[in-house]
Symmetry: C2
């Protein structure tokens, strides 16, 4: 494809996306296709001869679009938002167009240096500690996901704990509310599920109990194990519960254990002064901290930022053949080779999209976006609380509202099936997409607000629809109940 | 940014890229900035108020571009090519615009099903075994990099070998020519460097010695260790050496050890019938196989395809809470949840770019691209072989040519410094970018041909420039020699 062909087809692609975004409300939020529908609509053999780019665009609309679940739809309330704002998409486009591979500083200095600048910017915007900045002992890096960030943190923690091979038992501490990627990281890093300790949570707030953490840790140490890392969560996936970072950090500090703070969803809210409390304890205790601009901060996936208070153990854990590869500039701190900060070697120029987002919106625009989500969620929570047909889960400090429809006369397990059935009906309607979780064993609907296109009217319509469908379903119960509960799905 | 603003700025971004690509030869291939130049040219604080998108574009050209090393420049011969063709960039753009997150089938069925179709297409195009197809027991998946692919393969291998915790010593077998990401995977997975065995290579071909592999493995088993995986490489990073996969596979099969084939660079050449020999032994012995369309197959980073002959151990190694998350459709094989096939949970719609590339070029266009690189490399190799001032490394079956300038009268170490100096002068000229490696201890220049814009005239000009600079430098030696050798850098 020549530059001139690229110019022509590129504008077609831009028009396609602009039209898609302008008309997105006309699509069912959640794809309604059945397994295999898309696959069987596509040719089983690749073309021998090249085709016009227009064919790709027309098949995208004709074949693929019915199989797309529209994460940018204003009625998308599932999981967490995964915003793809205009400036983010265009920053990513420029990155693809430049086509640089930024594994080392020397393979494209701007790729490394812009990344350092924007993660330092973001640390400042969120009020994260000065020692997370690259000019100090720490530093930030863009990862593909919070899963990878917690794996990298665990590897650094294991290195600092002295793990160098497989001769001791190392342990990782999470709660029942911690994201499943932590258990996965433990399995990847060779600790296995046997190395994961699940700390109790407070039954109301669902926050980790520092007293139980202390007890578990001391018990493990007495048994000869080496506690390597604790993961505290600021805004859990299930209900946005906030672990007491300072109290957890104190336990870690007393015992020299690495504290990783997973603020994947909620951390970006600290851009607003009224949410600065999210960072309580981070400055004093956190060895590493991760948040995802690709969730609630208008930057398209993938863009997780991981900061560390001390980059030395991270680099020691991940640098390959360090004696052979080190050079004066790196050792002096004049140059960063981000390949040493992540699992893969190669890396895209992801800083461009975050840079583009921060410049287009400015700090005030980013704060306004967070506040819009929080305001809409608070409004929804008010409606739920005022409705005798529903129970609201408290607290709901961010954009997520968890609500439980009530089904008078039904036993708990029947009620859970009714709630699930309600969710299926709502999702099948095409007007919204919700997911669920369990709180104290009961099925609860999650409604995550914060999509870039979501306005008050969408939340209002969704709530009206939920109430209407709840009332309609209530009238037919229990004869329309499904016999089994579907499996719970994970959230990113 | 409204859809209409996106339309306007998107076309500006497309024009920017088209102009960049049309004028790319006017830039020095390798960025000539010094550490900190770019960083210090950028504001240290983010903007409080939003800015026009035009500011991003103008700062991209004014501040960042001098810090960009131009991987798409026709004079880029460093590392391996990392092609960003037009259809790939546009496929990626459409993925960003849709903004779907494909962790589960249900979160966007088309994202999963198109991926299955295109990796099956690619398996067919490359002549890979039928059992790598998803309809059989195996299956393919797009990973971000060959590093992640080999980590995933190692985790599957460890699972199959019975590793479930840290109670035995597991071993991984590589050669001195294996990519450093394998050692890194061993460290990430908790084997440590202590678990990595380095098998001898043939001194001429630099291919792994299956006899030594057998001896090492039996020695480890006698000592109580469990051999978990062997990595055979088809086209090593240093010199594109090809390990004897069939002979290695026989050793693995006798002992039930997982064989991973790393064909990151060279594997895609099998799209041409004359390179189908690259797959020798793969059908009979390979448990997993990876190649990178993001190197030589016109698809922008990141796009590595990993196939496995049996997806069960891979899923068992990476599924979190398998009992809890499994559902009838997944178990029946009707639905794939690709989050279980990779380290991160979230995933972009990367299949779109590979689909766009295959459709735009067609199989014949992809073959023509590979053949162009091979032909140009063969021609260059002929010129090198015919020149008494240089020594050619044989064989050079693909797009990489390794050449050693001769420096009559200089001792080996002085000659290595002269070669390095020559490379620095060439790279500083801005007209080309080369990297180096060591063969039998001697510094050798690597010239990797296969960039999307590289034509015969660029190779010819580069060769003339190398000869001219070599002659000029020879006249001033030894007084212009640097006192130390620079560090060797890794290749992706």
């Amino acid at each position: 494809m020549t530059p001139e062909e690229f110019r022509r087809h590129g504008k077609q692609a831009i028009d396609w996306i602009a039209d898609y975004l302008a008309g997105i409300e006309s699509y069912p939020v959640m794809s309604q296709v059945k397994p295999g529908d898309i696959r069987h609509a596509l040719p089983s053999e690749p073309p021998e001869h090249g085709e016009p780019f227009e064919n790709v665009l027309s098949d995208l609309g004709r074949i693929l679009l019915p199989g797309v679940t529209h994460w940018q739809h204003p009625g998308f309330f599932a999981y967490f938002p995964s915003n793809a704002s205009g400036p983010a998409v265009l920053g990513d486009l420029l990155s693809s167009g430049l086509g640089v591979q930024g594994m080392l500083w020397v393979t494209s200095p701007a790729c490394t240096e812009l990344e350092t600048v924007v993660v330092d910017w973001l640390a400042g915007l969120l009020g994260l500690p000065e020692h997370f900045r690259t000019d100090a002992a720490g530093g930030g890096v863009i990862q593909d996901s919070a899963s990878s960030a917690c794996l990298v943190a665990l590897l650094a923690a294991l290195h600092r704990a002295g793990a160098d091979g497989i001769d001791r038992d190392y342990t990782l501490y999470v709660s029942s509310q911690t994201h499943s990627s932590l258990e996965r990281a433990a399995r990847i890093a060779g600790l296995g599920t046997a190395g994961v300790r699940v700390v109790d949570v407070d039954q109301d707030t669902l926050a980790m109990d520092p007293g139980h953490l202390r007890a578990l840790m001391d018990q493990d140490r007495a048994a000869g194990a080496v506690p390597a890392m604790v993961c505290a969560t600021v805004g859990t996936t299930s209900t946005t519960a906030v672990d007491p970072v300072a109290a957890i950090g104190e336990v870690c500090a007393e015992r020299g254990v690495w504290l990783h703070v997973d603020a994947a969803y909620a951390g970006v809210a600290a851009i607003c002064p009224e949410f600065r409390w999210l960072n309580d304890g981070v400055s004093e205790y956190a060895d590493s901290y991760a948040t995802n601009p690709h969730k609630w901060l208008l930057t398209n996936f993938d863009c997780t930022v991981l900061w560390t208070a001390d980059r030395a153990p991270l680099l020691a854990a991940l640098s390959t053949l360090p004696e052979y590869l080190r050079n004066a500039a790196t050792t002096a701190g004049a140059v960063i080779d981000y390949r040493d900060w992540q699992v893969p070697l190669g890396r895209r120029f992801r800083a461009l999209k975050l840079w583009s987002v921060i410049r287009w919106y400015g700090a005030e625009g980013l704060r306004a976006h967070i506040r819009k989500g929080v305001t809409l969620a608070a409004e929804l929570a008010g409606w739920v609380a005022a409705d005798p047909g529903f129970e609201l889960h408290e607290p709901h400090p961010f954009g997520l509202v968890c609500l439980r429809p009530l089904w008078p006369g039904l036993a708990e397990e029947e009620a859970d099936r009714a709630t699930t059935r309600l969710m299926e009906l709502l999702n099948a309607s095409g007007s919204m997409y919700l997911t669920h979780t369990r709180i104290a064993g009961r099925v609860v609907l999650r409604m995550a607000i914060g999509g870039v296109a979501t306005e008050r009217r969408h939340v209002e319509q969704a709530w009206e629809h939920i109430r209407w469908e709840h009332a309609a379903l209530s009238r037919t119960l229990p004869r329309t109940l499904p016999q089994t509960l579907p499996q719970t799905l994970p959230h990113e």
